[in-house]
């Protein structure tokens, strides 16, 4: 069981830890362009599979869309 803060909202998961990729799939964050910050630190796309989220972590998933 893991309680985290996801985009400023409390969120809980049955697993004790999961990778960023697993969480994105689980929450259906399928947006093509996004940036992920774990405890304030930006995580590169190529590290989503290896980076683990733990109880108490703060995760921000920021969607980016075209227009300017």
């Amino acid at each position: 069981m893991m309680n985290i803060t996801l985009n400023n909202q409390p969120a809980n998961f049955a697993a004790d830890s999961m990778t960023i990729r697993e969480l994105l799939d689980n929450k259906r964050f399928t947006f093509k362009m996004l940036v992920v910050k774990l405890n304030g630190k930006l995580i590169r796309k190529e590290d989503y599979e290896q980076t683990l989220i733990h109880d108490g972590d703060q995760l921000d998933v920021i969607h980016l869309m075209s227009g300017g």
Binding site: K37, L42, D60, G67, G68
Partner: protein, 194 residues
């Protein structure tokens, strides 16, 4: 703060603007009108007729390099502005070279993949410099949805939802408002830091 003090403080500040389209051109104009002294602008595009619905260019500038046209327009507002205009495509490889001397960086791209590239590159290599982006500004109306969101040195202006499409084009009012939200965030950063 009196306007004379605003101008004086901004005169020795440098802002980098990544992209000279709807967000970048309008944000630059606002900052220069407030007295910003130094600007670094980069864009590879040329002014086209379809840009005139929202970007700070004029019909007689169609075909000009955007950075040259913007420089011309900004110098008409303040001939003493020091402007570094780069006619090139911004990549993760040249972000540091272009913007490392800036006090603040403005993300002013059109395409989401470019926004992602710059936000990622800046967070990894220029994390000490605030980055002010524009995300979610297509169409019209829904002004109450526009907001400013902050994650440490990453600040995003816009509704964070509306994406440009055939039936939801970027238009002067909403793009202009978001570009000016960005300019206002930049001012607050530059004027409050001392």
């Amino acid at each position: 703060m009196r306007f004379e003090d605003v101008k004086q403080r901004l005169n020795n500040k440098t802002v980098g603007i990544a992209g000279a389209g709807g967000l970048g051109s309008n944000c630059a104009v606002a900052l220069v009108r407030c007295g910003l002294g130094h600007l670094v602008i980069a864009d590879y595009d040329v002014v086209s007729e379809s840009n005139l619905n929202r970007q700070y260019y004029f019909r007689d500038q169609i075909g000009m390099k955007k950075v040259d046209a913007l420089k011309e327009n900004l110098l008409r507002i303040n001939p003493d502005l020091v402007i570094e205009a780069h006619d090139l495509r911004i990549t993760s490889e040249n972000v540091v070279t272009l913007f490392s001397a800036c006090d603040v960086i403005v993300e002013a791209f059109d395409l989401a993949e470019m926004k992602e590239m710059l936000i990622t590159a800046a967070a990894l290599d220029l994390a000490h410099i605030p980055l002010v982006g524009g995300v979610g500004l297509a169409g019209y109306g829904k002004l109450e949805a526009l907001r400013v969101r902050r994650w440490d040195n990453l600040i995003l202006c816009g509704d964070g939802i509306s994406e440009v499409s055939e039936v939801q084009p970027p238009l002067a009012p909403r793009v202009g408002i978001v570009s000016h939200m960005q300019a206002d965030v930049v001012l607050a950063i530059l004027l409050n830091e001392e």
